[in-house]
Symmetry: D2
Subunit: 437 residues, 4 copies
């Protein structure tokens, strides 16, 4: 097996980077990384330097011979890379703020992954990821692309269907977060918990939940009807599920399902925050500013614990664990976004799905799910229709297709409101949407 | 071929009956009906007599030897019937009023077929239709069941999956109404118009539109963006589609799609009507009262033209045309609710779908559609998930399943609101929901 | 609708042509054909003239103003054509003789459509049909391609999957022949018989059989166990099916199923004929020579009745009936080879299947079959695997793919024997297989 | 987790039993088996005692506290069992001899799993396994049924579809044998080899082959064209594949594929053996007699090495490894016969398939394969059609269905020959086929 691996991290100036570095340090003995190239755009130069210097202090303190390189030249970073990780954000937090606020202004939840906000994140991100893929074809055709950039499901599907890069995996921290959450709920070690996942990114369900191989689904589902005991994410307010509804649903929803099974309440809450000036983007922005202040401290040489509040907890865990399993042909079970290949019978074979997989040296192989339970199939299909339309719009730059995607999104109440939001967002994000000019 | 056919019409006291009678008179030469048995429940006795007497006058005036029988004994009506038509309404218009008003009270569209109202209509109707099926097995096992009772899709599916009656067809006037509407829009004879339909009841799309076999889809779609030129139903307010949205949708929506692609505006309008006391049920009630006044007139011996305002236009056309084609093995194309059997690849084979079919002596045979276009698949799947949950609830009487159906309905904003509406409706319709006690 | 239609008939010198002309004469009032262009290759010039002159005498005698044009210039014939019919045979009967004799020499049935012979017919024919398609794109992009050239299933699939011509239909006389055969068996008028067909070309089953819309399947199946009463083709010796086998099969096999359910006996018989010098190709050659002698007779101005012995009975009926239904948007049921589009759930959507269709102005629309019955699915799938491999070989000219197709053919007993036959046939047909050099 | 496990082994008097005992001894530390109940029928009493006594000596010598119980009372053995393993043979080797010889007498390969012989093995075995399942429901409803009895695929499918026992796995030594064979071919440790398997029992393909996670498929396929280097089973004569055929097939065939891709040569060889009196049953009978002679030796307290020649090598390995992984929720990859559940898209979801699975505490979960490659799909489907018909015949005892299964088997050349063989075999196995009387 190849040793002396080269990692290229696109969006290397992200506040998540210290988690990633921590991961590579942790696995160093089994995953012999020699170089990590952190690359970012000119606008992100300052952050890149701050976080890059922290990364250098971290490897030094850990005593591992990993070289940290900082660059603004993506091609230099990609050249001969073995793994490319992407965690960039086109338009930065500024853009996210617009993704959230513009829909809210018209009484609609923004939802930065599967909602109107997610549509615009896809429109901005997909052309960039396809550029990266074209460069990879030339500079590192055998590398694995490990994508964390949201909307991770749509981005992965765009790569699978519209680039020549087949070695791509999309990563999200929701599945691992849910396993951690269940562990915390039950007071057991996370390693003893396993969930059978199936669905789409941010639209994933736990079909069964195990501790030491014994199903505890019913127990967990009962706990989830108590709002005090939810397993929700940092950034989603738990409200507790209606007990009889959850029992009849008969699978474990993910935190993002609150947007769909509790749209009314979520909207009310977001509108309140919006009117008080505090959407999630603003909160994150503040958190990030604080984090970068910490990162600047030349005494700091570990990942600061405050990072976990950021909402991206377990990303490092997830990403490095995945790279490690591919590299070692570990054949363990991880939940990632990958080509469906028939695993979920009622979704297209060539679509990206988020599903429990065996991770092998040739990538993730989904465990067959069969048909999604009828009671959740409808919503999943609706999001998949939205995702396909959004991807088509991102690639074609076609206005009508973008309007279609916006209108069929389950959070958007009509074609007319869709058009109003769309027009305002196209204008607001103009700089990052060259395909629409 | 058998002659001297016996027709049993359940809910024979309906205001629609004169249309049906008119149809049988029209086709008499090719469809030799000898007896029509109009049967109704005790509560509907007066209406049955009014409409039954009109029916007698109609056949007399037409000079055809069809015998009209009136009865409250369903078994007598079913005995040796060749075709059973069902147009009953459990709980009558009173119940429909509740189906509409209770959800609106909580800010939710009632929608009597695919919405919360439709859920309750299914809960009331499905047990009755299955009773009828059990009686048919015994009394007329070879008869065809032609169901017009709404929600026609769910009722048909319940019969297909949970009874031993295989010879069932569900009928709706939406497809024929759309063809008539297109004809009117274009100023051509309706016989020259053909639409390729696929979807579900009240959730059907025109995949292509032809005049004399030449596609006029683009032209029709352009016209539909003009609210003045819509092909909507009597009971749905047209607003015109956003042009770019409709073009990207690339199929012809049905009038009921306004509830899903214009939920915001439809809700606003219904709330306004509700607050002013005029939901659709009230309008229909008034219309019906007027119709029965007309029917009482002993001079009247034809279907009064006022009936067309009732919203059920073309039902007679559709029902008798269908019976005629089955009886004569005509093999013409009609759009009905029938077992999917793979015609729409991405819907379950054993589900009812609404699709263009060839009508033969052994029933409707769907024309293969392949996969629904991705852009409409999501919504159709969501309604199918809702339908399956609603049917399961109707049969099991399980509270949680009913709550699940209510929550996953795309018109309902959360599990909590779903529960509030559900509880109030279960109480309001108690008399007709024995399975929930 | 367009009048003054132009028909281009490729392989116009075929002995079948008089049937076609007869058909166009018969339908002239509803199908206003103005020009028929018979085109053939240089080697077929003499035949073209003989048959072309007969055609001219036929239209003259019939008194219809159809112009008959004879040409060796395919492009001239295709220019602005409305319908292109193909009935050519690459390598003529000479080649068919080799297709039959070489496999038999090695103890294997040749079978000119689904067997080793059919493989070679596909290898010779597919490149030519794709050439024609390329010319059609340029010269008559809106024309319909009506292909009778065998193997009609594979040729149609090759056009569907590897050309830009979407308006293609493959025709075979087996379905119409089976309906005629059933009519004769039962002594009823053929117009009263309808069979629901599904399967592949020369591998089609009758799922049900009706007279006047009433199923007579059981009666027909019982008759078919009597070898004296078979409905087989001119060119396949009937032996009668084992009664219990046929009853359990529960569908009507086509005559070509003798090759698969009676391989042993068919092989023995063919070997006997082969040793006695009389394979089917020889018989046909003799018949053809006789036919052309008849055609030469300047007194002859109708289709001579002897043509029906040729094995192609009903082709004229089938082809002109199909063109007529497309032209008039007739929406009647005909059985043709067309894109599956999900009609048979367990075959690929993009494959050609032979199935009962509604014939509309936009072509054939298959009636949904659902899943093939389990008991016949295996054999159909095996032939489809063979067909796909054969088409791939025809297009790529890849030796290994051709060997794969030969080996997985159910008539071929081993990879080793497959190689021997393949090598000998590649050599024998060298002239017509440029893609393999 | 439960300790003190009880194992019930039906057909405990089999010559394979020492392998099984060896396996339980090997895994004892992680798999705390307390009791093994060997049960057999009266006719097998002597063998049961011989092998049971050897088993007792083995555990004693190994120093593990496993109790060996011998019984003729199946219910006693099943009571509260945790795992039930089945390795019985209805009619013993005598019956296998007939399965092979009767078809050969009529010029047809017997093939004891997927051929005519396999049909009869299924007809004899399925009723017995369903009896066992009914007893399990009552006596050990939570036990896992680990079936090695051939035809393992059909037996597993019969249990899945026609019993209430859902916890069933079918085991075959072919996949593990192929991994061992590849290891031997390449001279590497078997633990470094992994094959991605998909197909049916004795009809399984290696879709890819890895050493240390690196694909070596091409290298292995090249080696397999050399008859000296095959990875065939003890009981199947290797002949080497045609190089171009194997390359185009592009997947690794299993040894049993010789029966289908080399039917001619296999038949010739079997006929030769048959005429010389040495079918496989005779060879095995002789081997078994020798083994039992060895087993009788009171000094023997280990599995004798001669057992490996028996053809069942690695069964012990496979069975105990499987039980161990279920018990410990190990989540390793093993290839077993289990419910397809969509893993192979083009096979029925409720059918048994042989496929690489993750073995968890809730049983095997197939890794999604997607569609089988087109070039092998046909044969696999044909065997599945045969299997379904055979299972239906075993359950119904219907003569016609049995004749159908026999006729559609790819090794049988016609309905007529099928009937001759069927009749003779029904008579010969009469005693074990009560359902056919």
């Amino acid at each position: 097996m190849k040793t002396g691996l080269k990692i290229a991290t696109i969006g290397g100036g992200s506040s998540y980077t210290p988690e990633l570095i921590e991961g590579f340090i942790h696995y160093y003995n089994e995953l012999p990384v020699q170089e990590i190239w952190l690359v970012d755009v000119v606008d992100g130069k300052e952050k890149l330097e701050i976080v890059g210097n922290l990364a250098k202090r971290m490897v030094k303190k850990a005593g591992v011979p990993i070289e940290i390189h900082l660059t603004l030249d993506r091609k230099e970073a990609l050249k001969s890379a073995d793994f490319v990780t992407t965690q960039f954000r086109v338009g930065m937090l500024e853009a996210r703020g617009k993704d959230e606020r513009i829909p809210l202004k018209h009484g609609v939840i923004g939802q930065e992954t599967n909602g109107p906000g997610g549509l615009f994140k896809a429109l901005r991100t997909i052309p960039v990821i396809l550029d990266i893929c074209r460069e990879m074809e030339e500079l590192c055709p055998n590398a694995w692309l490990i994508n964390f950039t949201n909307p991770a499901g749509m981005v992965t599907e765009a790569v699978l269907r519209f680039s020549n890069i087949e070695k791509v995996v999309g990563l999200c921290n929701v599945p691992i977060g849910m396993e951690m959450g269940v562990a915390a709920l039950l007071g057991v070690d996370p390693n003893r918990v396993r969930i059978d996942f199936a669905g789409l990114n941010h639209m994933v369900y736990g079909l069964d939940v195990f501790v030491d191989g014994i199903s505890v689904k019913e127990q967990v589902m009962t706990l989830l009807t108590d709002p005090e005991k939810s397993i929700t994410m940092q950034n989603i307010h738990a409200m507790g599920w209606e007990p009889e509804f959850l029992k009849a649903l008969n699978v474990l929803p993910c935190p993002y399902h609150n947007y769909y099974y509790k749209s009314g309440e979520m909207l009310a809450e977001e509108l309140k925050n919006y009117q008080e000036g505090g959407t999630r983007a603003e909160v994150v922005k503040k958190l990030e500013a604080e984090l970068f202040e910490l990162y600047k401290n030349p005494e700091l040489a570990i990942k600061p614990p405050q990072l976990e509040k950021r909402g991206g907890a377990y990303y490092s865990e997830a990403a490095v664990r995945l790279i490690h399993s591919i590299y070692t042909d570990k054949r363990d079970i991880q939940t990632v976004n990958t080509r469906n290949n028939g695993a979920i019978s009622n979704l297209p074979s060539d679509s990206a799905v988020e599903v429990s997989c065996i991770i092998t040296s040739v990538g993730p192989k989904p465990i067959a799910v069969g048909e999604l339970p009828m009671q959740v199939n409808g919503l999943v299909q609706q999001i998949k229709s939205f995702e396909r339309a959004a991807i088509n719009a991102a690639i074609s730059g076609d206005y009508g297709t973008a309007l279609l995607a916006m209108t069929i999104n389950p959070l958007v109440p009509s074609d007319r409101i869709a058009k109003v939001i769309l027009d305002e967002m196209l204008e607001a994000h103009k700089r990052y949407l060259p395909q629409f000019h």
